[in-house]
């Protein structure tokens, strides 16, 4: 086997899909169904997190697998197959027409989340930051978080979904989105601050 291990900086990554991808690319295209079965749930989750609607998520998954199928021959193992597949998914997602009900594409500035001099954060963390997580998280709150994520502008939503929900590292997220690590960090921080404001609003309202 050639290049089963990928050099990324100093780290060597093993790609668990290497052999399967090699086999498909050497002509056994029927094996592609194995990739579909393995990743359909993950991609559907990603689609739901990004689009919020089952029909849109289905479209995203279908388009992604079709594109992966079409372009797999050109995959050069510069990254894990899975990360490359997410690159295809995010590109597909960015190309999709913006839903009218979704947040407009705009930049979030750090200033809009900075506490002004007049309204410093309280000197004690609120109950929702103190309570054990499993006592706090219920279906209603999970639904509220989903809604808040959908309200983020797409460029920010994508970063927070990849980092905090799909579990990619900062470097991987930057690579998937083809943006710098610094830009990834900036977007992630602002997206989190945006979500924190939404949570504050939710709990203030609830209290």
């Amino acid at each position: 086997m050639i290049r089963q291990e990928i050099m990324s900086g100093k780290k060597t990554i093993r790609d668990e899909d290497f052999e399967l991808v090699q086999a498909i690319n050497s002509g056994r295209t029927e094996l592609f169904q194995q990739l579909v079965e393995k990743y359909q749930q993950k991609l559907y989750n990603f689609g739901m997190r990004m689009c919020g609607e089952p029909r849109d998520a289905e479209d995203l998954v279908q388009e992604t697998f079709l594109n992966v199928f079409r372009y797999l021959k050109g995959f050069r193992y510069e990254t894990r197959f899975k990360n490359w597949m997410y690159r295809v998914a995010t590109t597909t997602c960015l190309k999709a027409k913006r839903k009218p009900k979704h947040a407009p594409d705009r930049e979030l500035s750090l200033e809009e989340f900075m506490p002004g001099e007049g309204d410093l954060p309280p000197d004690q963390a609120p109950g929702w930051a103190k309570k054990p997580l499993d006592q706090l998280l219920n279906q209603e709150l999970a639904g509220h978080i989903r809604k808040a994520i959908i309200e983020l502008p797409k460029n920010y939503r994508m970063v927070v979904v990849l980092r905090d929900q799909e579990g990619f590292s900062t470097e991987e997220t930057a690579q998937i989105l083809d943006i710098s690590v610094a830009n990834t960090k900036v977007r992630l921080h602002r997206a989190r601050l945006f979500l924190r404001e939404k949570l504050k609003g939710y709990f203030d309202h609830d209290a």
Binding site: E37, Q40, H189
Partner: protein, 86 residues
């Protein structure tokens, strides 16, 4: 610009680094500075706790969505026809 004897600029500088702190992406020096500051500044401590909680909630609420009925079947057919060049 101070509150509770603290330098507002320091709080603002920290505010920008909070996610990197949460993600363990700061070098040792920067990390130690953040830790020293949030030990003393209750406002930044609150800011940190609420942001950390936001991240935890985001992670913990990320569960699998149920796949629609027949979706797996639909995908299989889609790829079959792509494979046959239809």
């Amino acid at each position: 610009m101070t509150h509770n004897g603290h330098d507002h600029h320091k709080c603002m500088a920290l505010f920008e680094k909070m996610s990197e702190y949460i993600d363990h992406e700061l070098d040792d020096d920067a990390r130690a500075q953040v830790e020293a500051h949030i030990r003393d500044c209750c406002h930044c401590h609150t800011c940190y706790e609420t942001l950390q909680r936001t991240v935890d909630l985001c992670r913990s609420s990320a569960e699998d969505y149920p796949l629609p009925d027949t979706f797996a079947e639909k995908l299989r057919e889609l790829i079959e026809s792509a494979d046959q060049g239809v």
